[in-house]
């Protein structure tokens, strides 16, 4: 073999290796995007599952509470004045502080600290007249300082926590009076303007209701439509049209469904704005084609021998379909439905258009109460400037992703456990 040919061969083999490397690099890039992404979310978000408390002492002084009765009833405690007691509990941290500077101390706890002082006494009526330790929710600035998310060495005027507050914080921290505990209120409280109080309960319930409404509307219609198209529809122009229609509908951008919800459900049918009911119906229109396509594929996979056997035994077409084909296709249909719902779960844009982006600080009890949903909550919080919300967003994303993973797992299990393998 002469050297020219050898060189050519070498070149060609090098090109081959290079090409393989391009492919490996491409896959590596795609995987590393995912890794970076997950790392970012988790490293930013895990701290939101912890909550900072400031421990101080509160004196439930009857005089300051304005309670006259000797043995006060629950109502007396309910109606007592907690302002002074709570105020004293905070200012006692630094007794030497002049009165006009007291806001600096008060700002270190959440604005609901008075209610927290009240709740403790209502839970333990025998604390009345005693001096007891109490845990107060730290303000989100102190919270962020404690979690190390705020740089402390920048000039004071650029910081949200001033030198004096830092000094108090350090003193408390040394005494062990700053606690970091699991953040239950993140899961149990509704949205709030204050990062330290904000939770996902309202948006979580909103999501649950929307998904249930979505399921209730889209599943029956989609399954019936799939049965018709796959088992009964005559082959003509009209059914072709329906088929093309469904395929195109599956590719319509989600925001267009939001416009549909706005223009028809809200403007024409006058359904209540900002509610999971409207959100769920809008999402169901979106998932309809997904479920129809999955259900049809799954009906198609049932072997014709099943149908033929049923027909040979004298069953009518309808009986064959309803008693044999449809039950056998259910695992595939169900897993397709779950995947469709998981898609709907992550949708944000259509819900924003129908007003589920409103600030809701109550936990919805029914699908016709105003609510947000988890993805919309992510959007709302990420538009907010406070540093405390960044970790909340990441934590909310983690909850959403966990939800999605669960649903996809469920779809996999349904598919693999119950699907019959025909061969």
């Amino acid at each position: 073999m002469n050297s020219f040919k050898k060189n050519l061969l070498k070149k060609r083999y090098n090109a081959e290796r290079r090409f393989q490397w391009y492919g490996k690099i491409a896959i590596g890039l795609a995987l590393s995007f995912l890794a970076v992404f997950m790392f970012q979310i988790f490293s930013k978000g895990y701290s939101a599952f912890q909550k900072t408390w400031i421990v101080t002492e509160v004196h439930y002084d009857k005089e300051l509470l304005l309670i006259d009765a000797e043995s006060p009833s629950k109502d007396d405690l309910e109606n007592a004045d907690y302002y002074d007691v709570a105020y004293k509990a905070m200012t006692s941290l630094d007794p030497g502080l002049p009165e006009e500077e007291d806001r600096q101390l008060i700002q270190m706890v959440s604005y609901k600290y008075e209610a927290e002082v009240k709740d403790l006494l209502l839970k333990n009526p025998d604390y009345l007249g005693k001096i007891v330790p109490i845990k107060l929710t730290a303000s989100d600035d102190v919270d962020q300082v404690h979690k190390g998310n705020y740089p402390r060495d920048i000039p004071e005027e650029n910081r949200r926590v001033n030198d004096y507050q830092l000094q108090i914080y350090d003193m408390l921290n040394e005494r062990g009076d700053i606690l970091l505990e699991f953040n239950i209120s993140f899961f149990t409280s509704p949205d709030s303007r204050e990062a330290e109080l904000a939770g996902i309960a309202s948006s979580f319930m909103g999501t649950v209701f929307s998904i249930l409404v979505c399921l209730a509307f889209s599943f029956p219609v989609a399954v019936l439509a799939a049965i018709y198209l796959e088992e009964f529809a005559p082959k003509n122009k009209f059914t072709d049209f329906i088929e093309v229609n469904i395929n195109n509908l599956a590719a319509v951008p989600s925001i267009v469904f939001g416009l549909l919800g706005l223009g028809v459900l809200l403007a024409v049918f006058n359904l209540p704005r900002s509610t999971p009911l409207v959100g769920g119906i809008t999402l169901s229109l979106m998932t309809l084609p997904t479920i129809i396509i999955a259900a049809r594929a799954s009906l198609k996979a049932v072997p014709p021998s099943i149908r033929e056997a049923a027909l040979a035994m004298g069953a009518s077409n309808m009986q064959t379909t309803m008693h044999h084909t449809v039950p056998l296709s259910m695992p595939g249909t169900l897993s397709g439905t779950i995947i469709g719902l998981a898609q709907a779960l992550g949708e944000t844009a259509p819900l924003i258009l129908i007003g589920m982006v409103a600030f809701v600080n109550t936990i919805p009890g029914t699908p016709v109460d105003p609510a947000a949903s988890l993805p919309v909550q992510i959007y709302i919080w990420s538009e907010s400037a406070e540093r405390g919300f960044v970790e909340k967003v990441s934590a909310c994303i983690m909850v959403l992703l966990a939800f999605l993973i669960l649903m996809n797992l469920a779809a996999q299990i349904v598919r693999h456990k119950f699907e019959k393998k025909w061969s």
Binding site: I255, G263, G346, T348, G355, S382
Partner: protein, 458 residues
Amino acid sequence: MNLILVTFIILLTFTSYYFGRKKALVIQSSQRLTALPKFYGYYLAAWCAAPALIIFVLWSVFEPSIVKTFILQDYTDQNLTKNELQLIYTKVKALAVGTYTGNITNFLDESANKYIQLKGIANSAKVAIILAILIFSLSFAYRSVQKNDRMREPVEIFLKWVLFVASLGAVLVTIGIVFSLLFEAIRFFQAVKIFDFIFGTHWYPAKTFVRDGQPDPELMKDAFGAVPLFAGTFFIAFIAMCVAIPIGLLSGIYLSEYAGRGVRKYAKPIIEILAGIPTVVYGFFAALTVGPFVKEIGNAMGLEVSAESALAAGAVMGVMIIPFISSLSDDVITAVPQNLRDGSYAMGATKSETVKKVIFPAALPGIVGSILLAVSRAVGETMIVVMASGLAANLTINPLESTSTITAQIVVILIGDQQFGDPKTQSAFALGISLFIVTLLLNVIALSVVKKYREKYE
């Protein structure tokens, strides 16, 4: 009231099912049954529920508008516009329910009384009609049961109709989309010339906000030019494609031609996770991490970079789209017949030469189709752009500046309370219909390309 009526119909339906089945057993003692006993029950139940529920739904849909026409008849001589009439009707309704707080004029009071009266009449009429229908249809059905007519066929035909109506659901959704978009868009194009919308180069709808009266037509002419939005949309989609096509295509080729079974089994689903992550999460990532990162790099190189650059939004969108392209092209490449590969190998070609010179050209139509589908996805993507790209519509081709897209503008316009009848709100629907048309065209072309390609090798 409605709830009671519906519950009553449903209860009656169940009762008639059991009654029909029982009746069949009675008939069985004297004659041969024409179908299984439960079909007698289904037959009665279907006749009970279907007509009553259909009438009920139709009535509930049309009643409000009929009542409205009756109420507003009294106001026809006052020369009011449509919006004013709507306002009056809302007031009347609120007054009748007792939630009205403004001052009450005699006229309003009268209308409210009329409204209550009409509602009462409508309600009792509804109950009466539905009861009559129930009695009529049930007695008709019962007669055929008694005569022991054929039972299974009518029930199955009925079921078939139910299935057919359900399959119309998807068509209804499309019709709903087209009409709701068209309806508002047409009203928008009455205020703004369609020519100004398609070819105008300034998008600044906030300019048309006027507290009272109509906005100045001159202002309107210059405020709704959608060219910057179309340009921005395709520009960001282009950036996304620059990221997604090389990575997606190369990983698709690698997975289908080179990767061993183990790699394929794990790498493919993991890459597909990227497609399952909600877009709002990508938006957050783009706005908080990628945007500042791009800005920092740009500043370090001495470039002026906006914090909300088109580059950041486009790049993140590209990452989102990678799995679409990789999975679709993987499928398409796998579908290329093996004998093409074997022929190429037999001629002494290396694997990469086969891929480049034989498989890729053969799979090209399918790949183009999958890229078009991905483009349509990128064009319709909303949250990434809303959160990471700018909201001001700049006409630019500098990826470091901020720009806006059709979808982002729709969200910006419609977030919060909307006023229907305002050209600004209507412009969102005009944008919506252009988006719908663009994505529809892309899809139709993509699907037909893919279909042609499939036929070639089948």
